[in-house]
């Protein structure tokens, strides 16, 4: 029983970090039809900046904040300077974003070296609680809370604010949004930067969760995020949330029994969803 609770919390915590990566990917695709193959790079940059700032200042709050900030800035710069030039051309978009992934990944190696680094926890989040024999690891709980809070915030932004209304309208018909006098390009940039910031937050949280960071983590986690959005439905907020938790838990469970097969089982899950419901579990249901 203990083992299962342990696996479950681990799975949900990982799922939350992946959700932060997947939700931006999904919304960016929904709004701009850009499948961003560079999204994992924002995640990785978040992880490295977080660990770096934490090492320098010993302040975890500051580490997370700077990760988010750096993510947003890189996202904005990248969107303005390159991606905005290829809106409407799917092939160029995919080639371009993959190139950005390559460059951003190599730049991580330039700044922090190609080797695996440790990503430490702040003291107050280390350790665990023992609730009647059930061990709850503090940092996992923290991850779940941050993930859930962010999910709620994103949901409320989408549902309640003017920006949220514009985004949802833009997903359905970007041209009409423009015809109503809204500069959709600005909204694109904003949403792209926002998605990148969320991914960076996910990375900064994921680092201490696994304890180490490496230049391959961008691609590895991006792959999980792809699986999440295919399962949940590209463009769907709820889909990314449910998909991420599903993928997180599946990964944790399978890893327990057969670590080698974790990715394989998740890919299999994706293939099954693709066969049975190509639009994903929540595709086309709005939000």
């Amino acid at each position: 029983m203990d083992a299962y609770i342990n696996l479950l919390t681990n799975g949900i915590a990982t799922g939350m970090a992946i959700f932060l990566l997947a939700v931006g990917l999904s919304i960016i695709f929904g709004l701009m039809s850009v499948l961003n193959f560079a999204h994992g790079a924002f995640f990785m940059w978040g992880a490295y900046v977080g660990a770096w700032i934490f090492g320098l200042t010993k302040s975890f709050t500051l580490a997370l904040t700077s990760a988010v900030l750096v993510g947003a800035i890189i996202g904005l710069v990248v969107e303005r300077s390159t991606i905005s030039r290829v809106y409407g051309n799917h092939v160029s978009q995919m080639l371009l974003t993959m190139g950005l992934m390559l460059v951003l990944g190599e730049m991580v190696k330039v700044f922090w070296g190609p080797n695996i680094l440790t990503s430490p926890l702040p003291a107050y989040l280390a350790g665990s609680w023992d609730l009647n024999g059930v061990i709850i690891i503090k940092y996992r709980l923290f991850t779940i809370i941050v993930g859930a809070a962010t999910a709620l915030a994103v949901y409320l932004i989408l549902k309640r604010t003017r920006l949220g209304i514009i985004v949802r309208a833009g997903v359905e018909n970007p041209e009409m949004v423009q015809a109503l006098g809204i500069d959709i390009r600005k909204v694109f940039s904003l949403v792209f930067a926002f998605g990148a910031a969320l991914a960076a937050l996910g990375g900064a949280i994921m680092g201490p969760l696994g304890g180490s960071i490496s230049p391959t983590m961008g691609l590895e986690n991006q792959l999980l995020a792809f699986i999440v959005v295919v399962i949940g439905g590209l463009g769907s907020f709820i889909g990314s949330l449910i998909g991420a938790i599903l993928v997180g838990i599946t990964g944790a469970l399978v890893s327990w029994f057969l670590p080698e097969a974790a990715l394989a089982v998740n890919i299999l899950l994706m293939a099954v969803v693709l066969l049975l419901r190509p639009t994903g579990l929540f595709g086309g249901s709005g939000l």
Partner: protein, 347 residues
């Protein structure tokens, strides 16, 4: 037009003659290896061109075919024996494997939006990579394994001509394929998928055909690559291999086949040069960064490839100028191709 064609044929013949003569000019192992590398990578890059250049499909998992081809041949020769039968059997097996995987991945994702194929291929290539890394007792994991090949094949000069022959044969067959009615339909799909569909073509089946041809060709390149190296490690399955093929295709100009050959020569020569430089100046260990920048610049500004960009410089400038004059060429949702790409493609 006829004149130009004749000139091309003559030029090609001269070039071929020169290339065929290289082993008589030098017996440097490094040079022969590099040339052989270029031939095999050219086959791989051409297979990518069938997808990207001729059908407009993006794959980020093409290394899956290349790598599994190398692994199949390698494993067979290592565990069953370094015989000619096993070599030929290995190549055939990798072709069949490539065909089956292409059909599987294609039917999973080609019916949905184009982004899905890119994601699915990336995912499966990563899966194979992880498998190769984790199945240590068979594959040797990260370190890989070396194997013996039939005596004659370990002769560099023989392998040189074998690879050259394979390149010529593949180029010829792929050229015939792209000029066939099916190949024309693929190009129609690339230009405008909806129109091809409206004309009554089963777009999905043609795309599937394209992935099958590309997959089989890439597997051939991979199995020959394994034979050349007499060594296989998980890196043959890595995303970098796909990106390299992609880079070669777009540098030379996608949708031309010959562009992939030029791209292969360019990229391999530069890579070889940089690897040499990196031994002296550690800065050059980050050459993928430079490649990444070049790649982005090509995608953004020379979608027709560098070769075509240089030969058609004036036209490009003209078009850019026109595009600047027309800033209202702004976002039109759902449009598959922007005007620049279509225009350059049509040349």
């Amino acid at each position: 037009m006829k004149m130009k064609k004749k000139l091309t044929v003559v030029l090609l013949a001269v070039l071929l003659f020169l290339v065929a003569f290289i082993p008589f000019l030098t017996d440097s192992r490094a040079t022969l290896n590099l040339m052989t590398h270029i031939f095999l990578w050219a086959i791989f890059a051409m297979s990518y061109d069938i997808l990207l250049g001729y059908t407009g499909i993006v794959s980020f998992g093409h290394a899956l075919f290349f790598g599994s081809g190398a692994y199949i041949v390698g494993l067979l020769l290592k565990y069953v024996g370094a015989s000619w039968t096993n070599t030929i059997l290995g190549i055939l097996a990798s072709l069949i494997f490539g065909l089956l995987v292409a059909l599987l991945l294609g039917s999973l994702s080609l019916r949905i939006r184009d982004a899905y194929f890119a994601m699915i291929t990336l995912a499966f290539a990563e899966l194979f990579l992880v498998a190769a890394l984790k199945l240590r007792w068979i594959t040797g994991g990260e370190d890989g394994f070396s194997f013996r090949v039939p005596e004659l094949l370990s002769n560099r000069v023989v392998f040189y001509y074998l690879s050259l022959g394979a390149l010529i044969l593949t180029t010829f067959l792929l050229y015939r394929f792209t000029c066939s009615p099916a190949g024309r339909v693929l190009q129609a799909i690339r230009e405008n998928e909806q129109r091809a569909e409206a004309l009554g073509y089963d777009v999905f089946r043609y795309k599937l055909l394209s992935t099958a041809v590309a997959g089989v060709t890439a597997s051939l390149a991979g199995s020959l690559f394994g034979l050349q190296m007499r060594f296989v490690s998980a890196s043959v399955l890595s995303l970098e291999k796909t990106i390299d093929a992609l880079l070669m295709t777009i540098i030379g100009g996608s949708g031309t086949l010959y562009g992939a050959i030029i791209g292969s020569a360019l990229v391999n020569l530069v890579q070889d040069w940089f690897t040499g430089l990196a031994r002296v100046y550690p800065l050059f260990e980050r050459w993928p960064l430079l490649f990444g920048f070049v790649y982005i610049i090509i995608v953004l500004f020379f979608p027709g490839g560098l070769v075509r960009a240089f030969s058609g410089m004036t036209e490009t400038i003209l078009f850019k100028w026109q595009a600047r004059r027309n800033p209202a060429d702004n976002y039109t949702p759902g449009k598959q191709d922007d005007a620049v790409r279509v225009c350059l493609k049509r040349r």
